[in-house]
């Protein structure tokens, strides 16, 4: 069944989009990632113009994040306070990122920069997570209790910074400086890469701030709702590239998928969840790295010239 998209100005298959939304929503609910890093490449692959794919992806991410965050809210695995501080940093970072985005697009190297960032970050994050979680799983298999990520009395330089704040839900007492910094850094990357940043946020919260894995997912989703909403409004105001019909189709699939994903995620143990996310992140990194180093199918690409 075909439907005509008013902003993308093309006809697409409804069921393909619903399925695409459902698959990404499932992963989103399970891992607490918004799914932007999956949906945007998928849409581009489906011939949706990249600018519209990025903006519309952000819009759809809101829906699956709301849906997923509500599920976590009910379970009490959502740290509002931590999410809000991260968000404050995130807004600053993504505004800066949007500026750099425009700059790179003028030079014509945006695609390259984004690809390198993706490969680099996804590769590092995925690799580290995989090693850590594999070790944890092996130890658990060996019959022992998996060592908690956070050991009492374990402190690094992060814990010596001033302006400490207590985050009850996350059982955390840290300075707001690294939290704000983390939010800003991720916001910056998110704006450039056109994603919510969940796939960096989740591991960063787990490994750098030592937030318990189950709280991380809900908190990350909560934070992504706002980052994605901000991105959607910026894009629709500045570029008019949000296709509401396309976004709605993806959302309907996405929210359904997110509930099932959250359910499955709940049944998995922390280290299993981390290992699966690591594999997913690595797979995306490999795919993008492949594109970067292997001769592309189309050596030539077309760009419309805006404002002309």
């Amino acid at each position: 069944m075909g439907i005509y998209l008013p902003i993308a100005e093309m006809s697409v298959n409804v069921f393909v989009l619903l399925a695409m939304g459902a698959a990404v929503g499932f992963l989103s609910g399970m891992f607490g990632v918004g799914g932007g890093f999956l949906i945007t490449p998928l849409l581009i692959f489906y011939n949706i113009p990249p600018a519209i794919a990025v903006a519309t992806g952000a819009n759809q991410v809101i829906a699956s994040s709301v849906s997923g965050a509500l599920a976590h809210l009910k379970r009490g695995t959502l740290d509002f306070k931590l999410g809000t501080v991260l968000l404050a940093g995130g807004v600053v970072g993504s505004s800066l990122g949007a500026y750099v985005f425009a700059l790179l697009r003028r030079v014509g190297q945006l695609d390259l920069f984004v690809s390198i960032l993706y490969v680099l970050f996804l590769g590092i994050v995925g690799g580290l997570m995989l090693v850590e979680s594999a070790n944890a799983i092996r130890k658990a298999r060996g019959g022992g209790v998996p060592p908690p990520l956070k050991r009492s009395g374990q402190h690094n330089w992060i814990h010596r910074l001033p302006l400490k704040m207590r985050f009850r839900t996350s059982k955390l007492f840290v300075s707001v400086i690294p939290v704000l910094g983390l939010g800003a850094g991720i916001g910056f990357l998110a704006a450039i890469m056109g994603v919510g940043g969940g796939f960096i946020m989740v591991p960063a919260l787990i490994y750098l701030l030592k937030v318990p894995t189950n709280v991380v997912v809900g908190t990350s989703l909560f934070q992504i709702i706002f980052v994605a909403a901000y991105t959607t409004i910026i894009h629709s105001t500045a570029n008019q590239t949000v296709d509401i019909v396309l976004a709605f189709l993806l959302m309907v699939g996405g929210v359904a998928g997110a509930q099932y994903g959250a359910k499955v995620g709940q049944r998995l143990r922390g280290e299993q969840l981390r290992a699966l996310l690591a594999l997913l992140v690595l797979a995306v990194a490999l795919r993008l790295g492949f594109d970067l180093f292997v001769r592309p199918e189309h050596v030539y690409t077309l760009t419309g010239v805006e404002g002309a």
Binding site: I3, Q60, I62, V252, L302, A308
Partner: protein
Amino acid sequence: MRRSVLALLQAVALLAAAGGASAQAPTEGIQIGLSTDRVAITADFSGADLTIFGSLEDADPLVSRQGRYDVIVVLEGPARPVLVWRKDRVLGMWINTISEMFVNVPMSYSVSTTRMMQDITDADSYRRLSLGTNFIYLEPADKTQFPPTIDEFSSALRDLKKSTNLYNERIGGVEFLSQNLFRATVTLAPNVPVGTHRARAFLFKNGTFVKETSAPLAIVKAGFEQSIFNFSRNYGFLYGLLAVSLATLTGWLGRIVFRRD
């Protein structure tokens, strides 16, 4: 006996035709008529065939009978500047290195012909007429560039347009219904650009270009699609808020409908 009479008659007709032609010069004309000057794209649009009717004027019946009249109908989309980038291997990575700007590139270009392009006329004629997906002239912004570079980029541009079916050819899409009347079917791709298109018809006689005619055709979004599009263009901020609210609402409803815990 009867056959020889017929042949004789034909010979006489041929002479008469030749005489007539030399006396008053070839005056064949071509006309096309669109059943509508607006094509509305609605929610269920998934590409379409557009039929254009046309007729030859003062056609020579003999040439018609021999099938020596050929018609090529083109539906040309609105023109826009296009930037073509080429990727090259730098430090093992494929990155954009060289670009070439083209001005007035038709966003879409649908061709329909009576027979194979190469059987109608030669490449030089096509190039002169800027006709056909392989020969349409793409104007570079900077004409002083090295010609092979321009050729390389313009053929890349054509290939990319063809790969998304925005540039397409329909061999045999033009059919003669009678000696003078023809019907052309052109393909509208699912991603056909909206805007003012131009239907052009080219008449060839014995492989020689005779005449061209054209008619404008507006392809517009209709109803709901049009309202959404206008809203997004005129009230971008409100549209963004609407998109965010819709997403939030959908997420909340999704939670209620599909909850699994």
